[in-house]
Amino acid sequence: MAEELVIDVKGLTKKFGGKTVVDHFDLAVPKGLIYGFLGPNGSGKTTTIRMVCGLLKPDEGSGACLGFDVIRESAAIKERVGYMTQKFSLYEDLSIRENLEFIARLYSLDDRKRRVAAALADLGLEARATQLAGKLSGGWKQRLALAACMIHEPRLLLLDEPTAGVDPKARRDFWDTIRHYARQGVTTLVSTHYMDEAVQCDRIAYIAYGRKLLDAPTREIPARIGLQGFEIVADDLEEPARRLKDAAGVDVIARFGAAIHACGRDEVALEAAVRPLAAIPGAKLTPIRPGLEEAFIYLMNEARDNFE
């Protein structure tokens, strides 16, 4: 094996009350990578992350995380992984410092005082250390949560929709921090459904309805799907949108600002569907190279067709 795998699981399956939430899931995450989990809500992202870090026992499947068995050695995994939950899960009635001290004690860190002080300095929250965590804004809560799950210096970071409800500026800062950790060799597995976050990932696994539909380096994804596309501009976008809706050869219709992107894998069929739109007043058609967003919309549509 050329590269060291931080997460290497095969066939992970989890059922809740007869419903299969995660279905034979394979995942191989190399060291130092930022690995994105993309998919609609309820697609099994959270459940998969919980199985990887030993919070849930898989019904089927096996594998290792940081070299420890995900079923038998969950205690060892928990000691070495930093897991940031989707919902803020620090104590709102504890101060910033008390929260960090609590986590540091839970991990039995020898140099607790130094690490808490360092975390506070990194956050720039030294002056507000005695403030209750519940009084922080969404962005600051998220930074505190990240600091808390990094306090024991884990080699693997699991982030479950870390920037939900956070403003764009805070989101950018957050990603700068993640990339900073990645350069130091920390591996990150992050679930999201924001497209601007997906492009930050080195590699993406697309999940829908508990199954992995795609697993590829981020920049190769559009080419893998092989979409062709047109940008359509018109005085009234309703008209082309209506006519494209169920047209053969059009797999994706998406609005981008003042334009519509119509994409499909079959170039001939797509052209046949789109060309007549040139007759609409003010319409202008331009061939484009579809990006990640169109690719994911395509994947989501496919998934819906297959599972619903």
């Binding site: 000691e79 939950t85 899960s89 104590y91 009635d93 839970l106 039995s108 808390a148 799950c149």
Partner: protein, 390 residues
């Protein structure tokens, strides 16, 4: 000297880490307890409220009861008895019945609770030493309420008469000795309700407040979503239970000190027993309650559910433990339930220690069942917690 084996060193490090995790949860709970005003006030207010209610307001020894007298004989002795009854503060004589029928009608209608009948020739028979009877017809629909005043009548009457005897020449006095024996047995100056209730109250206060605060120990974490982060750390179920319940041992000890101080200072309840034995029994009881509450919190999904579940413990704890009603008077099945309740054993211990001055050997019979209950509850709680991970 041989160096310690590496496996020993590893085991020690493991214990150190475990203690660190328990300390982490312990400190966090202490801070949260300090900041949570509602929980804090429950822990302070409940003992004070209950002590006031049970200690002062609730009294199974009622006074100033409406009474009528029917005098078929009148004389100095009868008058002494009547004034004695008035002074006893048990009876307020509000009417004189002219006939037995009238007296009974008053009793039936509820206008009076007691009818005291002095028979014909009472004075003559008394002086002759024929021990005439004073009849008391009591409204015994509340048997507890009736027993105190009834036993008081005899005492009051004899005391009142004793004063009259003093004035008689010695030769004319009836032989008082058989009477006196009866007096001292019947009249029990220690029969104060608070003596029985206040030590029992300690058990009720500890049961209610401690089960209530720990029953939400885990549900609060679930409702706030903090449980997920907590479970993703290396903390183990047993460490969680110890860390989450120990802060409240301190609370229980403080509550105990308040109630015991009030018992001794305000209610003047005698404390006869061994303080160390008493303290040990109390700490075991406090821990049992905390673990019981914690067990509830592993089963409940919300704080509301947890509260509802605690009432399944409170009701039998008050009704079947011997706190409200005599334990021996209950049917077999009710006693069996009572034996499973921590408070039943605690009540027996605390009454024996405070009132009877029991020692270690006397309370063992109730200490070991308490320890068994605690171990069983703790085992189930730890096992249940493991399952809540999934």
């Amino acid at each position: 000297m041989t160096p310690p084996k590496p496996s020993n060193a590893r085991a020690l490090a493991g214990i150190g880490r475990s203690l660190s995790r328990i300390l982490a949860i312990f400190m966090k709970e202490m801070v949260q307890m300090r900041r949570d005003r509602i929980t804090f006030s429950v822990m302070v207010a409940v003992p004070i409220l209950q002590l006031t209610l049970f200690g002062f307001a609730i009294n199974t020894d009622p006074r100033h009861l409406a009474t009528a007298v029917l005098l078929k004989d009148e004389g100095p002795l009868t008058r002494s008895i009547l004034s004695g009854l008035r002074q006893s503060s048990y009876f307020d004589i509000i009417a004189q019945a002219r006939s037995e029928a009238e007296g009974e009608a008053m009793l039936r209608s509820g206008r009076i609770s007691y009818l005291i009948v002095v028979p014909e020739n009472f004075e003559r028979d008394f002086v002759r030493g024929e021990r005439p009877e004073i009849l008391i017809a009591a409204d015994a629909s509340d048997p507890v309420a009736a027993s105190g005043p009834v036993s008081a009548v005899r005492e009051v009457a004899l005391r009142a008469l004793a004063a009259d005897f003093e004035r008689l020449p010695a030769t004319l006095r009836p032989d008082p000795s058989p009477v006196n024996v009866v007096v001292h047995r019947q009249y029990n100056p220690a029969g104060i309700t608070a003596y029985n209730i206040v030590p029992g109250l300690l058990g009720v206060i500890l049961t209610m407040t401690l089960i209530m605060v720990t029953s939400i120990a885990l549900t609060r974490e679930i409702e706030h979503g903090t449980i997920e982060a907590l479970l993703s750390t290396p903390v183990r179920p047993l460490e969680m239970m110890i860390g989450k319940t120990t802060p409240y041992i301190i609370v229980g000890v403080i509550q105990t000190l308040v109630v015991v101080t009030a018992s001794v200072v305000i209610f003047r309840i005698p404390f006869e027993g061994d303080v160390i034995i008493f303290a040990f029994a109390i700490v075991v009881f406090i821990m049992t309650n905390l673990i019981l509450g914690y067990l509830i919190s592993t089963a409940a999904r919300t704080q509301m559910q947890a509260m509802q579940m605690t009432f399944f413990v409170f009701l039998p704890s008050i009704l079947l433990s011997g706190f409200m009603f005599p334990f021996r008077a209950m049917p077999e099945w009710a006693r069996a339930i009572g034996e499973c309740l921590p408070i039943t054993h605690f009540l027996r211990m605390v009454r024996e220690v405070t009132l009877k001055g029991a020692g270690a050997a006397d309370i063992v019979g109730d200490l070991w069942p308490l320890l068994v209950i605690m171990s069983v509850l703790a085992t189930i709680a730890v096992m249940r917690f493991r399952r809540t991970l999934d």
